[in-house]
Symmetry: C2
Amino acid sequence: MKILVTGGAGFIGSHLCDRLLQENHEVIVVDNLITGSLDNIAHLAGREDFHFIKHDVSNFIYIPGKVDYVMHLASPASPNPNSPFGYPQLPIQTLKVGALGTHNALGVARAHNSQFLLASTSEVYGDPQQHPQKESYWGHVDPVGPRSVYDEAKRFAEAITMAYHRYHGIETHIARIFNTYGPRMRLDDGRVIPNFLCQALREEPLTIYGDGNQTRSFCYVDDLVDGLYRLMLSQEHEPVNLGNPHEMSIQELALTVNRLTKNPAGVQLLADQRAPADPQQRQPDIHRAKEILDWEPQIDLEEGLLKTIDDFRRRL
Amino acid sequence: MKILVTGGAGFIGSHLCDRLLQENHEVIVVDNLITGSLDNIAHLAGREDFHFIKHDVSNFIYIPGKVDYVMHLASPASPNPNSPFGYPQLPIQTLKVGALGTHNALGVARAHNSQFLLASTSEVYGDPQQHPQKESYWGHVDPVGPRSVYDEAKRFAEAITMAYHRYHGIETHIARIFNTYGPRMRLDDGRVIPNFLCQALREEPLTIYGDGNQTRSFCYVDDLVDGLYRLMLSQEHEPVNLGNPHEMSIQELALTVNRLTKNPAGVQLLADQRAPADPQQRQPDIHRAKEILDWEPQIDLEEGLLKTIDDFRRRL
C-alpha cells in the first residue's frame, strides 16, 4: 500500500514509518518539523519507497497519484509547559492541527477513497474519574482549562473522524494512545522518561514534581507501533486504547532509571510543583485491543528503558 | 461600535441585531443562510447602519475597515435528526463552523484588535451528571457519539476562544446558551417548542417523545439577547450560563401550549421514540450571570409563548 503518514518525522511517526517500510509498504511523510526532526528519518533518506514533504497539514494539502491509507499522527504532544516543544508553548498550532489538520487529512482520505487512522490520545479522558479507563468512558475534561488546547483538539479530531465514517463512508480507525517512550524521543521533550534519562546520564538527581505517588503506565514504542499496525489492518471503527496497563509510581520509575543507568545522584522531590491539571493516575484498559487486535505489550519496562538509554547516551 | 455578527440571519442572531441597532451600533451580518433566513432580517434591509454579507464563516473571511466587536453565533443548533436544518443532517458543516468558523472569526477579531463573543451552548455539558449545571462543571459528552458533531465542535470553540484570550490577549467572552425560544424560530426547526406550536395551531395532538417526564427550561429570546448584550459589555472571560432556570416537564409544556392555543387535540405519547442521547434533564445555574451581569430572565413562559404563538400563526 501507499501510505501517507502525517507527523512521520516525529517520535512515534518515525517508528511507524520503519514498521510500514519493513512490511513492504510505500511511505509518504508530511511533517512541518515543528516538533518532529529530520534526524528521526535520516536513515530512510534516498529509499525509493520513502518520500518526505515538509508541509503543515493544518494548511490544505493535495497528494497527487494514489494514496491507499492516511495515518494522521501530526501534533505537538508533550504537556510540559517548560518545553519549547510542549503544547502549552504551541497552543494555537495544537488546536489547529487537531481540527484543521484532521479535517485536511480526512479530506485526502476522502479524495483518494482511502482508509484513515487517527492517532488520538488518553488525554481525551482528561483527569479521569474511572480507573482503568475503558473506551466507553466519556472522560473528564475542562473545555476552558489550560490543557484544553490539546484535549479538546483531540476530542474534536475523534468527533470529525467518526462523522467522516458515518456520513462519508470512510473506513476510519481511532487509536487512543497512552504514554509511550523509546528511542528518538526529544531530549527536551519535557515528559518524565526523557527528563529522567537526561538527568540520570548526566549523573544529576532525578526531579520529581509532586510527591512521586502519582502513577503512570508506559508503553515501549515498538509495542505501540505494533498495535497501530494491527488496528490499521482491522475493521474496527470505534476507539481502541493502546498502552501498557502495567502501572507504577513516578517514584518507582525514578529508582529503576537510577539503577539501570547507575546514577548515584538519587532523586529530588519538588512536592509543591505539580504541573497544572496533571492527572493523578492514568491507566489503559486494553481488553478491546486484546480481543479485537490480539494485541498486548510484549516488552517490559527494563528492556525498553535499556534500549532507550542506549539511544539517549548516543545523542547526549 | 461596528459589530460583526456571524449567524446574524438566524433565530437568535437576528434578535441580537435588532438589539444592537436599537443601542445605536452598526451591524455587519455574515451568514451562509443554510439554517438562517433573509426573512429574519428583511425588516432591516436598506438601513445605513446594517450590512449583510452572504458568506460561510468556515471559509476565510476578510472584513475591510474597522471592526470593534465580533460576535460569533453561526452554527446549526437543532438536535432534531428529522429536521433538514438540524445538525444531525449537517454534521460536517456543524463541525466545521465550530472549529474553522470560530478560528476565522477569532482571526477577524485579532486582525482588527477587536473584542470577541462566542455563542456556546449548554450542550457542552452533554448528558449532565450535575443539576443544575454550574459553569465549573466539566460536562459529560461522548466524543464519538451521535451528538458529538455539535457538542465537541462547541467545546473546541470554547478551547480556542480561551487560547486566543490567553495567548493573543484578545478580549473574549463565552456565553453558554440554554434552550431559547421566540418569534422567528424555524417552523421546521425540529425542537420541541416549534414542533408543539405548529401542531397546536393545526389543531393536531402534540407529539411527546419518551414519557414526557424529561424536563427542560426555556428562555425567551429577548431575555437571552439582553444577557448576551450585558456579557458583551462586561470584562468577563470565563464562560457564563445564560438561560431560564425555571424547569418544567415536557408534559407540562404541552398542556400549557394547548391551553394558550385552545388546541382541543391533546397530546400523543411516543414512549419508545426518544432521540438518541437526549438528555433527561438540563437546567442552568445562573448565579454567575446574576452576580457578574446583574441579569436574570424577566419574561415568564406564558408571556413568551403568547408572543411566539402570534408570530407562528402569522407564518403558518
